[in-house]
């Protein structure tokens, strides 16, 4: 009886891990796209700092307090810019 319960628990754990892996795979590309959109949002807003046309700086200042996470993404995207092809291949599981 005890063995059966342990096996059931083990199987459920194993199964939920498999399901989660598949979910992560399924949403990986969407997450990548979301990251890019959030990055683009901040680049558009703060573009004047890197020489792009942008809305008045005062407007960017008003939004700045709420963009902590997006700014983090923008900085991480700067690393991504060094090897964009490698990152895309990684997302698509191409070794």
């Amino acid at each position: 009886m005890g063995n059966r319960t342990n096996f059931k628990r083990l199987w459920e754990g194993f199964w939920s891990t498999i399901v989660q892996i598949q979910r992560d795979k399924a949403t990986g590309v969407l997450e990548f796209e979301l990251n890019e959109m959030e990055n683009l949002f901040v680049v558009l807003l703060l573009g004047s700092f890197i020489g792009l046309p942008s809305p008045p700086a005062a407007m960017a200042m008003e939004l700045l307090p709420y963009l902590e996470e997006e700014l983090r993404i923008m900085v991480s995207r700067a690393d991504f810019a060094q090897d964009p092809l490698g990152s895309i291949m990684g997302i698509l599981n191409v070794d």
Partner: protein, 310 residues
Amino acid sequence: MQKIAFFLGKGGVGKTTLSAATAYYLSKREKRVLIVSLDPAHNLGDVYGKKLCNERTPIVEHLDGIEIDLQEWITRYLNESRDEIRATYHYNTTLNLDSYINILKYTPGTEEYAVLWAIEHVVKKYRKEYDQIIFDTPPTALTLRFLAMPTISMLWVKELSEMREQILKKRQTILSLNPEAHIIKGATDKTQDRVYEKLSGIKERLSWLHRLFKNESYLTVIINPDALSLAEAMRIRHELEKLDVPIDSVCFNKAPMDGSCGDEVKQSFHNFPIFTAVWIPEGLRSIEDLEKVQIPELAEDIEAKIHSLN
């Protein structure tokens, strides 16, 4: 609905003199008038022989004046942002943000924003107390930029809002497929997203200002008997037409004593009422001299527009 009047024109054409004379004339007719100078190089106080400041100051009975201190408005605006950054970003409390924010005072566009928020503040705070609020504007370049700011900024706000909506939708989609997605750190709903909320707030303020300029303001352009001020007045008219903010009249200042204005002005502005203000050779020596400027027609046209809106 309160009618607001703006006096526009090239530097030195007499915007301050005519706005001061109009305000004085209306106050003599027992209208409660507030006159506000938006020009960073203020001389409204000099015309009235009274020291004016960023706070409302009585000039004569029924007439009060303010000289907007743009630097103070810029500082106030940036300080609000600094406080919000301090309250929201939890890891940088040890940083001295003041030194970074000080440089933003010199960012292009900040001065125009400060003018807009000053106008918003004055109109919202005082519109119920006065029959008329008159704004003496800075020279054309800055005036056109701040009048254009709501229209241009609203385009940005619209695009950014749409993009933010897509981001929120994408977050929702990911969350519904994968509730444990580590990427979801922000809000997924418009009502909970602070960025979207802030964008909506900015949009609301800018739309209010655009409506104020377009529907609730009386815009008069001052011209002198010279080709340059006429050319600039025509540019102002065209620029404002592009922004869908029509001018209401033209005022020909420093006109000859017979009150006539040039044919060129009549031709260029044949669709608009043209008023004349005569040249005072001896200049303004006291506040009473403002009556010599003789602008009753302009003042009455402004008043008539108030009644038509009420």
